[in-house]
């Protein structure tokens, strides 16, 4: 079976996202050209601010997924380029708005755009990129793709609002957390993948398989992001660890730690999450110590692995006869494993 052809451990050293990026580099160049062309404006601050974030070495995982999910099938059109650019614009717009909402200080190893250009410009340039995304989709002309991506966009903002409400809220459950990350992160991964088979004119079952792949990949990706926020090598991560902690975010590691917390620990979490402003310098190291002692990292990583497996399972349901490039299927499986094993 294709999905078992990849042994995760064999690829721990080779990053399958970079391999995919290499295979699709000619296509990604076209996507990057469209991104650059469509973020232009006579108002020079717009490309300056957008370019600050877009050129800052993001992984471009979402547009890569769109390309891969199209090239899996017998499609050689130019359509995925503009749509992949559109997906990246939606992502960039949400990052700009997120950083304003979170009061972020760093992003991708650089000072966050809101600190360099101000919250006001970040909000407005986010709106601009969001509009540009819809202009690109409209130029493509598929109403099904417009439906998928406009729904994903609405879902993302619902997830962000729900996350805002769960900040410093100790009543947040694991279900709430999964709802938040399904919406704020996995919905765009799902949409980025789902539009591939739509472009390639595949049937609904195939469309659904790619949607599920993206959804579970996104969940795995976000859970690991939340684990890495407490455990990553700060330099590799490109931002300070402990951001979620300082904001009082209820993420998977904290939720798992709370499941097995003793009274002391519960009191600790209650204080640092409910009143992040009360946090002292020694609180983050203590939090990390508790997470390790309670196996919270391992539990969260196991949850991420389950979603990575579900992502891979979804790909097995695609009719073999429809697949034009089985190497891409293997790489997509590799990426699912990589989300769990990555260090940043």
């Amino acid at each position: 079976m294709l999905v078992n052809a990849i042994e995760p451990d064999n690829h721990a050293a080779v990053n399958p996202l970079e391999r995919l990026s290499g295979i699709l580099s000619a296509d990604m160049k076209k996507v990057d050209e469209l991104i650059m062309a469509h973020m232009q404006s006579e108002i020079k601050l717009i490309p300056k601010l957008a370019g600050y974030l877009i050129s800052s070495g993001g992984k471009r995982i979402r547009p890569l997924l769109t390309l891969a999910a199209t090239r899996l099938f017998d499609d050689t059109t130019e359509r995925p380029f503009g749509l992949a650019a559109s997906v990246e614009f939606i992502h960039t717009a949400t990052l700009l708005h997120d950083d304003v909402v979170d009061g972020s200080e760093e992003r991708r190893g650089k000072k966050a755009a809101n600190l360099v250009f101000g919250n006001q410009a970040s909000v407005l340039v986010g709106d601009f990129l969001f509009s540009r995304a819809f202009q690109l989709m409209t130029a493509d002309g598929s109403l099904e793709i417009l439906r998928i991506l406009s729904e994903a966009s609405a879902t993302i903002s619902e997830g962000e609002v729900k996350q805002l409400l769960s900040i410093s809220n100790m009543d947040t459950t694991m279900d709430d957390y999964i709802t938040v990350i399904s919406a704020k992160t996995a919905a765009l991964f799902a949409a980025a993948c789902e539009i591939g088979p739509v472009i390639a004119d595949q049937n609904k079952a195939t469309q659904e398989a790619l949607r599920l792949y993206g959804l579970h990949l996104g969940l795995s990706f976000q859970i690991m992001d939340d684990v890495l926020d407490y455990s990553a090598n700060q330099e590799k991560l490109g931002k300070a660890i402990g951001d979620d902690f300082r904001e009082g975010k209820m993420t998977a590691p904290v939720l798992f730690a709370l499941e097995n917390a003793n009274d002391d620990e519960r009191e600790f979490w209650n204080r640092v999450i409910s009143s992040p402003q009360s946090q002292k310098d020694e609180d983050l190291p203590r939090a990390i110590e508790i997470l390790n002692a309670r196996g919270a990292h391992i539990a969260a990583k196991t949850l991420a692995e389950e979603h990575a497996q579900l992502a891979k399972d979804a790909l097995t349901s695609i009719e073999k006869s429809a697949i034009n490039d089985s190497a891409l299927i293997e790489l997509l499986c590799g990426i699912a494993d990589y989300t769990v094993n990555r260090e940043f």
Copy 2:
């Protein structure tokens, strides 16, 4: 000629916007139902925040324009309802983001949403409504309308960014100002009107006529908004006067006052616009006094009248045989005059 059938002065006492609202009240009820239905979300804060602004007695001028620009012609479909709701969602999203960007304190006679619910929620709910707008357009299925409204949305954010850059900037010219208000305000008026003939399957010339009507109406509307910010009855306006002044905005009245300013006055404007934080209590009354002395209100109002006339002229170019309801043409002309003569 139809456009001359209305004598502006005859209608100074009767508000033609309310008359249009009355004639189209059954249609507007359908639009309002769609607005209420589509702002719903499982995340209750979203309809709460959106509803706070949407139900706060806005004039609904943009969706009314879409309805009127469709019903002018022989169209009895339900299509304009969803699209008018979409236009209102785009407008509401930009208001939410504007109020964050401007740090507004009041809107429509109420505390601004950002002060009640916070900047973070206002940004995210704006994003949600913006996405919902595109979902509604996608459900309608006209790519031409998606093109018009996605372009208008991009233009709005460009205008907002340019406005941000012109704040406290004494080098701002009248051309810069017209560019800003064409984008931030008139583009959505133009789009709201242009989609009417698209829905009603009219030719490109008619589409262009309605676009021009909306564009000049929007310009007239915004110029008068900027005049009223220095001269309105505060209670009728629904917010404090002098907002633009306190923000250091370079609007039409200030630009006209600067054209004829003596050295003292130039020094005054330079201080209060370049450093709004240096403003003292007596500065707003002094600004108003100078505006009156220099005829700046009158000059700005004359400019607004010119655009109102251009709006009316645009309507005369529509082929008479295409018009199904000439009473609506007369009302649209009346609204153009009303934008100039309104007191709030």
